[in-house]
């Protein structure tokens, strides 16, 4: 995919170093992320895996400037954004270099805007002409395998799978270098899940970097080049998808691999899971 040449730096599109995020008032601060470092190269797909409450959504929100980090640095496309205030973050997001897709498309699409208006909005904000926006909207709609007939519909009139594809198209219209997807397929049935995963694979082929957050190792395994495992706010393991899955080191990763439903699960896995649970709870 073509991007503004000035944005094309050789370095990572996203670099997070020693990130700390806390929630709550000072007296009862709860640590959500601790010492998390992660780097995403141009065109690379990085999967982030973790259970509920492991901090994976916090990481996504911190990288989008929606949550303030209490320590550590974030560099996006060579630009150190760690010290950015509210306004600078907004300006950065508006430039469309970094985009995002969340689990529930109903909450990310304005229910009162037609699909066409929703998709064109980020382009119009950037000052793209209406005509040019309309052309691009149609192009991206077909990339997510949706027909132009949907353009004058409202989000509520689409199925869940169609809506999520619209959300993906909306993230793509600004031709971002990085898209952060937080549980993009968790609410979908298997046919729609496969379709979205297929679209993500095509994006990777086009050179868009993806951060794909999920609790489902299976979804991530088929798409990600590298996998990072978050457990209780810390990054406990990272490596190529193959290494993390076939030779998991941390007990949580091992439990995760042994817990993922596979077609060839062995009865012995049950005893191993039992032992790993005991180890993790100790």
């Amino acid at each position: 995919m073509s991007t503004d040449p000035s944005q094309k730096a050789a370095g990572p599109v996203l670099e997070v170093r020693d990130l700390e995020v806390h929630y709550g008032p000072r007296r009862r601060r709860r640590r959500a992320l601790h010492g998390v470092s992660l780097s995403v190269a141009p065109g690379e797909t990085v999967g982030i895996i973790g259970e509920t409450g492991s901090g994976k959504s916090t990481l996504a929100r911190a990288a989008l400037g929606l949550v303030r980090a209490s320590a550590g640095s974030i560099v996006i496309g060579g630009e150190d954004v760690s010290a950015y205030g509210h306004r600078s973050w907004r300006a950065l997001r508006r430039r469309g270099v970094i985009q995002y897709v969340f689990q529930d498309p109903l909450r990310s699409l304005d229910p009162d805007l037609t699909i066409e208006a929703s998709l064109a909005e980020p382009l119009l904000i950037q000052g793209v002409s209406r005509q040019e926006a309309a052309t691009r909207v149609r192009a991206f709609l077909s990339r997510v395998r949706l027909s132009d007939d949907l353009l004058d519909r409202l989000p509520g009139e689409l199925s869940g799978g169609q809506r999520q594809r619209v959300a993906v198209a909306r993230a793509l219209v600004t031709e971002p270098r990085l898209v952060i997807l937080d549980e993009p397929v968790s609410a979908l049935d298997s046919a729609n899940r496969v379709q979205i995963l297929q679209i993500l694979k095509e994006l990777r082929a086009d050179g868009v970097a993806l951060v794909f957050i999920s609790h489902d190792l299976g979804s991530v395994a088929g798409v990600a080049d590298r996998i990072a495992v978050l457990y209780r706010g810390e990054l406990v393991e990272a490596g190529t998808a193959r290494d993390v899955i076939s030779e998991p080191r941390h007990p949580y990763t091992r439990l995760l691999v042994r817990s993922a439903p596979t077609l060839h699960s062995a009865p012995a896995d049950r005893a191993e899971r039992e032992a790993l649970r005991a180890l993790l709870h100790a």
């Binding site: 899955i245 077609l263 899971r273």
Partner: protein, 314 residues
Amino acid sequence: MATLSEKVLTEAEKDSRTEAEETGNTEHVHPADASAPVLSVRDVRISDQAAGHEIVHGVSFTLTPGKAVGIVGESGSGKTLTCRAALGILPAHFEVTGGSIELDGNDISALTPARWTALRGATISAVFQDPASYLNPSIRVGAQIAEVVRVKKGLKRREAHRRAIELLRAVHLRDPELVYGQYTYELSGGMLQRVLIAAAIAADPRILIADEATTALDVTVQAEILDLLADLRERTGLALVLVSHDLAVVAQLCDEVLVMRQGEVVEQGPTREVLHHPRHEYTRLLIAEHEQYGLDKFLAVEAAKAAAAVEEDA
């Protein structure tokens, strides 16, 4: 014959003493009539009487004690309707229009509402996808289980309280006394599903239907619940009907698999047979999805080992 909860209790008590004993004694696991079917579904057809057309076009399977049958299919394939027919809780204007369902020797078409009430919970029970919506948020979860044993087993309050705690322990909740006094909002999804399973097995059913019971849970928690079901099945002879859109979830636990699509059973057979020699194109698609987007391709070495084991068995 010992009842399910008694068996669960003795097992739970034994667990606390020694695990070594457990492997030796298995005679109580299978009741005397182990081969007699507890649930027979024969060519069941279900129609939407309002719309005037058939939705489920003939489902058959037999469940004996300790057996597990899995039904796989996408939403709208008729898997949930089939289960609801077996529970006698089909939605308004849906009816069984062909075939028969026999529950522990009773043809369900002849059952009076009173008879149904007696059978539900005590013979057949079920857990569904969203555990929180089956529990009352303003009553402590333990009291809701105690209510089941008081009504179904006629136990006195104190006895019911004790039994509820034992059941919470039997579903491997770490601190059953604490959980007893908690409300739904204080428990995680996995814990709630355990509470619901405890309530479902409280009246010693012989059959448990788990309809997408683990779908909304984290994978590790899903595995815990599936392990728990496997454990209950082995220890107490509970027969299971496991419904899921995920073939792998069903494969992990079931002896027999039914693959449904648009109300039709497109493939049925022993799990290994279906996994290794799928005949229908839809089953092949489900398997291919796993191979492309699951962990399976990375675990190929282990898969090869499993396949070798199958060859040896054959």
